[in-house]
């Protein structure tokens, strides 16, 4: 890891932008990602040419999980761009094979899952549902419906503000065209999934639908584990940064969904600023502040429009599994007052994923904050912890 001017963790839009802008100035950049190839979730196997060209000037190491704070020992500036995962809210049947995240299904399709002829129901919230529906259609699936939990008035207000973001408006029109004929139900959410060995049918509020695939995502949760292990400060679940995307931890910058949820353009501009700032190109970075401000405003509109409705907290039945690693059920959790207490008394969040899935759900269901992160940031070989 020595011999580099900058280390970027995460090769999604924010990480790629940080790496490329730093590389343009002649800096030697190393990019690490736990996925086998660059692109992150949104550009999986599909990095736009503008960025792909510069990416060839940086060293990319895929399949490389960063599990602790040993990166700091190299004294090289670090940009964290570890992105986000999806928020999943438990409902009866959500553990059935064939039920995936919305972004989860998108990732599987982009990594080679052939969905031709399959009937898919998309549910949850946010523009991602439309993007995934469009992808599924292009790949030959039949999207039987899109269920958006946000109420129609909130969606209309959001759409009415889109004229301020011409690129988003254009994307929206293109998406809309690709989804002509697909039933779209606002104010609608999944209540239960049925099936013997895999999902066969889904009940939404008001109607039932047969399906082969049910993809449900309730928005995004930042992957802050590594930032926490490195000693960055968090506020409201996101990494705190200054105007240069610098965290409270010396030598560490953060960009993209780590600092807030708001789409690819927001991640890109934050990544550019972080990459430039981390190698000392502050005046170049400053030129991007106004563009960032615009995308931060867009992010705020997104957050308001797609706020989660309270009914989603009441989808579980007593026997609904909440922690999928340890098969801990809703009824096992109701006695306890905090994430840690529930964990110690029931094993909720003690499994392989270490609460990456149920932790965020329990924050919505019970209001529990779990800020305890210990190495490894993700499961690792014991031998990986033996290297000091």
């Amino acid at each position: 890891m020595t011999g580099f001017d900058l280390i970027v963790v995460g090769a999604g839009p924010a990480g790629i932008a940080a790496a490329c802008r730093a590389a343009e100035t002649g800096a030697k950049v190393l990019v690490l990602d736990n996925n086998p190839s660059a692109g992150g979730q949104i550009w999986r196997n599909d990095v736009p040419p503008k960025w792909a060209a510069w990416l060839s000037h940086v060293e990319f190491r895929g399949g490389c999980a960063v599990i602790d704070d040993s990166l700091l020992a190299h004294g090289v500036p670090i940009v964290l761009a570890t992105g986000a995962r999806e928020l999943y809210l438990p409902f009866p049947g959500w553990t059935l094979p064939g039920v995936t995240g919305a972004g989860g299904l998108q990732a599987l399709v982009k990594s080679g899952f052939d969905v031709r002829g399959k009937r898919a129901v998309l549910a949850g919230t946010g523009p991602l549902l439309l993007a995934v529906a469009s992808l599924l259609r292009k790949r030959g699936a039949s999207v039987t419906c899109i269920a958006e939990q946000a109420p129609r008035p909130a969606l209309l207000r959001f759409a009415a503000a889109m004229w301020q973001y011409p690129s988003k408006l254009a994307q929206g029109i293109e998406l809309g065209a690709s989804l002509l004929g697909v039933p779209f139900f606002p104010g609608t959410w999944v209540q239960e999934a049925f099936g013997r060995k895999r999902v066969e049918r889904v009940r939404l509020n008001g109607f039932e639908q047969d399906c082969d695939l049910l993809a449900v995502g309730y928005g995004l949760v930042p992957n802050t584990e590594l930032a926490q292990l490195l000693g960055c400060t968090l506020q409201d679940g996101f990494v705190t940064v200054d105007s240069m995307q610098k965290t409270w931890r010396e030598g560490v910058w953060a960009a993209g969904e780590l600092t807030g949820i708001g789409g690819v353009e927001r991640s890109l501009v934050e990544g550019e600023i972080a990459g430039l700032a981390a190698i000392g190109e502050l005046s170049e970075a400053r030129k991007l502040f106004s563009r960032r401000a615009a995308w931060h405003r867009f992010a705020a509109r997104l957050g308001t429009a797609f706020e989660l409705r309270p009914e989603l907290r009441a989808l579980s039945r007593p026997d609904t599994i909440v922690c999928r690693c340890e098969d801990i059920r809703y009824e096992d959790l109701t006695r306890w007052a905090s994430a840690r207490e529930a964990k110690l008394q029931t094993r909720c969040g003690m499994g392989l994923c270490q609460g990456r899935i149920c932790g965020a759900a329990n924050q919505v269901l019970f209001g529990w904050q779990d800020t305890s992160v210990r190495p490894p940031a993700s499961a690792a070989r014991v031998s990986d912890l033996m290297e000091s």
Partner: protein, 76 residues
């Protein structure tokens, strides 16, 4: 490319992950949960561990592993 899944021979496209290849082969159960429930990929991005299988003798996330010629995959 050719890979082997629980004794079956599969032809897969280069660049596909093991999870995608398994789904394409009609596998719906990737693992059994601790209480014996059938499970399959949820997140598709290496977070949930529902897609863990044995690849060439090691427990791996199938959604984060690209298919390689001759790979042996077992769902146990």
């Amino acid at each position: 490319m050719t890979i082997y899944l629980d004794g079956r021979t599969l032809t897969v496209e280069r660049g596909a992950t093991v999870a995608a290849a398994m789904l394409n082969a009609g596998v719906s159960v990737f693992r059994e949960s601790v209480s014996g429930e059938p499970r399959a990929p949820l997140c598709g991005m290496g977070v949930c561990y529902e897609c863990m299988v044995t690849i060439d003798g090691e427990r791996e996330l199938s959604c984060q592993t690209l298919c390689q010629e001759g790979m042996r995959i077992s769902t146990r």
